[in-house]
Symmetry: C2
């Protein structure tokens, strides 16, 4: 085989893989949107066939031979081709290290764990979920040993979600975060709380949906290629390439801000995915590179922009149009303060910017200890409750509002949480950098996201997965990552909202 | 390979094929429901990969060897296995007869023709569509020659949509239909028209949607496995097996009966598909056998049951609940008469039961002549208009309301139309047979579709595609097909509604 042919085959391989990915994402999406409730097993049938076919395609002899040939001629490949070969080979080599039977057993464990976790959460019964969670932690430790025996298991998994991340980095990051957020929160607790009554009332789903589309348009989403629909839990997905992106939301009729900010958050994910250079479509480089960078974008739009005063002033007329009766006695400033209210709480996904990283830190500390064998799964609930008291000062009434609240562990995602906090901090430093050349507040006041999106496109989006997250970030920032920028931002926000 | 293994491989092959079918149907469905409008090319990418993979699977060397082995041991297979091998081999052998390049070119022609037809219809510009339609007819004639050189081309295509059907049968059928319907229509025209004002007004889509779900439940659809959504043109599809069925409708806010009867019609298709024996799932025998039998079921529920007096009396309270203001001055009898109003018109899909077959007959006559080379495509508009005048007595004002109205020809479906008329007639004879053992009117009055559905399940649905349509029908009827039963029914209906 000559090299030119091999390069073409590389593109054809990825093009095929993207079609399988399209089909499987869509089957999942259908399951949580339009599908009748009794059809899960039927989707499972199609998914098992398609994932097996995709697996054979991605890891078959022919593919391995192709990739090894290309890898041997690495120097003759361009930067993009090199990265494609690297990413494809990486996942194959990883798969080869895990015995097939154990991999299949793990997939089955996760299906069962998802079901049991749902029931355990409903009845607040950790003991029901415990045996499965034990197996999940055990398996993740075992798989880490197969794939990266030279590393601590948790380091392996952290790096899976954010290439290059390890406990040393996380420890430093969270120590810095904790040292400034815990006192900040104490200061906030010492002054009168801001009123958030304007967020509550009756806000019909239909009016919220209309607002959601207006917000999507306002932040610059291309509505010809990005859809919106309703699901129990909001998420963002793409079908086969960044040319077809879908975000979802959920309308709570007693509080309009929940869907509003979830739409802007998911919209940030979608902007990032859709901003990949078009020639990355139908390759493994298409779309965002890591969870951390993804969250840096989603939380950038949701919080750094979405909860800023100029943005709130810009959207307030839209809110008044949508909810004229409900908001008639309120001002933009009332809404601004309400959506920036900081307050310790029990549930991560409903928490504010100031406390958010502390919620994540609880999970990080616990994962780290269990993965190192220093904490038993059976002792997780007590440890969870203790840390919530210590970091956030709240008492956890039951496991449903505690250790059972997130779906990540039942899905096998251990080492995923830190990227939420890191992403928030990345975003703040990116914004600071952006402000050097873009008058962000002026853009927000005018409702013109063009220059903001253009900066993100040029520095982050267009590269897709071409660069590792650490390198991408440093290229964009022109300096090392420093979490203090984010903490400065949060202190400034509290100063503004609470006058402290 | 031993035979037992081959039988298992046969099932595995079909199981895989069903997963590809699931993915491709869903991608199509997404395109006409949730997808953002700029995403067609992205779906095209996935569809072209998946259809190529499916094609390789269905017609590859390994598959052909397997099917030929099984075919050679036909006598050792059970009835279902025999039919599976027959159907799979039939489509392979057909594909083998058409040169690949011509097949691909035809698929591309159809994509283009669909687009051009839409524009031609909008602007009523037949000349725009003519060159493509000429190519479609030419190609269909050529392909028929490859696949069945011993047959007249149109006979080949008729038999593709309704196995065993040919022009001789159609000619006899339509001659009988015409001989009784044209005079019937003249009689109707001679007496005062019934009033259908009760169908018109303002009927909010939301109320219509609620009614649609009630109707689906009433006719006995399993809502755990059958969904409903909105599309421009109503249709029914299944995803991978009869365990996941979807119907679609379209709410016209000025006329509630349009969506109401489209839901019952598509519901009939769905009942048929979903009634396949469960062990047929994930095989080629799953779901309805032919268009004719499918229409016999959909039009059975829509017209024979749905437009009957006992059914209208049963659903009238639901209509009053849905549209209390709009219907306050009307009775069930008013609605019954309105939905059975017979009247020559221009558009097939909006026509009533009495004129419907005449609309179909126009298309049959024209297809027959073009396929035989006795009529040029360029002369279709004039011929269309002449036959509408002759059969229905109406003047066609433009091609949009004439020869350009249906999507079938642009989709390459020539020979498809007769199954609509045949299906209607099959249904009437099936109902007559059903009445021998089921008190259908009593069931309708009580809103209990159980015994009706049970009869259809036992005689039609459960077999899926196990028997050819002709055999299935005769098994169910216990006698040969006779279109006069349907014509008796239509005369009786007009007698009842018009007193003639």
């Amino acid at each position: 085989m000559n090299l030119e042919q091999a390069k073409q085959d590389l593109m054809a391989l990825q093009s095929k893989m993207s079609a399988y990915a399209h089909a499987m994402s869509l089957i999942y999406y259908d399951g949580v949107t339009a599908a009748p409730r009794g059809t899960a097993a039927n989707r499972g049938h199609a998914l098992s066939v398609l994932s097996e076919e995709e697996y054979k395609l991605a890891t078959g002899e022919q593919t391995v031979a192709l990739l090894e040939l290309l890898d041997a001629h690495k120097d003759e490949l361009n930067e993009k081709e090199q990265r494609m070969v690297y990413l494809l080979l990486k996942s194959i080599r990883q798969m080869q290290k895990i015995p097939m039977a154990e991999y299949v057993a793990y997939q089955e464990l996760l299906v069962q764990a998802d079901d049991v976790w749902h029931r355990a959460k409903e009845t607040s019964d950790f003991e029901l979920f415990r045996p499965l969670l034990e197996q999940i932690f055990e398996t993740n430790i075992r798989f880490a040993g197969y794939c990266a025996p030279e590393k601590a298991p948790y380091d392996y998994w952290l790096s899976e979600y954010e290439d290059g991340l390890n406990m040393e980095t996380c420890d430093q990051f969270f120590a810095t975060v904790r040292s400034r957020l815990v006192p900040l929160l104490q200061k906030v607790a010492a002054v009168p709380q801001v009123d958030n009554a304007c967020l509550y009332g009756h806000f019909p789903a239909q009016a919220q949906e209309k607002l959601a589309w207006q917000l999507m348009k306002l932040i610059g989403l291309d509505l010809d290629h990005c859809g919106l629909t309703t699901t129990e839990h909001p998420f963002t997905t793409s079908f086969g390439s960044h040319f077809d992106e879908r975000i979802t939301t959920n309308y709570q009729e007693d509080n309009f801000s929940s869907s509003m900010f979830s739409v802007i958050h998911e919209g940030g994910h979608a902007l990032y995915d859709m901003g990949s250079d078009d020639d990355l479509a139908y390759t493994v480089l298409d779309g965002g590179v890591s969870m951390g960078i993804h969250e840096s974008q989603s939380r950038f739009y949701e919080n750094l922009l979405g909860r800023s005063r100029p943005f709130v002033e810009r959207v307030f007329p839209l809110l008044q149009d949508a909810f004229p009766e409900q908001l008639k006695n309120y001002t933009a400033e009332d809404v601004y303060k309400a959506i920036n209210r900081a307050e310790p709480s029990l549930i991560r996904t409903e928490s504010d910017q100031v406390t958010y990283c502390l919620h994540v830190m609880v999970r990080y500390e616990l994962e780290k200890q269990v993965m190192a064998g220093r904490l038993a799964v059976k002792d997780l609930p007590q440890a969870w409750n203790r840390l919530y008291k210590e970091y956030l000062g709240v008492d956890v009434p039951d496991d449903r509002h505690g250790v059972l609240q997130d779906s990540h562990w039942s899905g096998g995602s251990i080492g995923y949480f830190p990227s939420y906090a890191l992403g928030s901090a990345y975003g703040a430093q990116l914004l600071k950098k952006m402000r050097e050349t873009v008058d962000v507040d002026d853009c927000l006041r005018r409702g013109d996201f063009g220059p903001i999106n253009q900066w993100n496109r040029e520095h982050i989006w267009k590269y897709g997965s071409l660069y590792k997250p650490g390198r991408l970030l440093e290229m964009a920032l022109g300096e090392p990552f420093d979490p203090n920028v984010y903490l400065d931002y949060l202190e400034e926000k509290c100063r503004d909202v609470y006058g402290i």
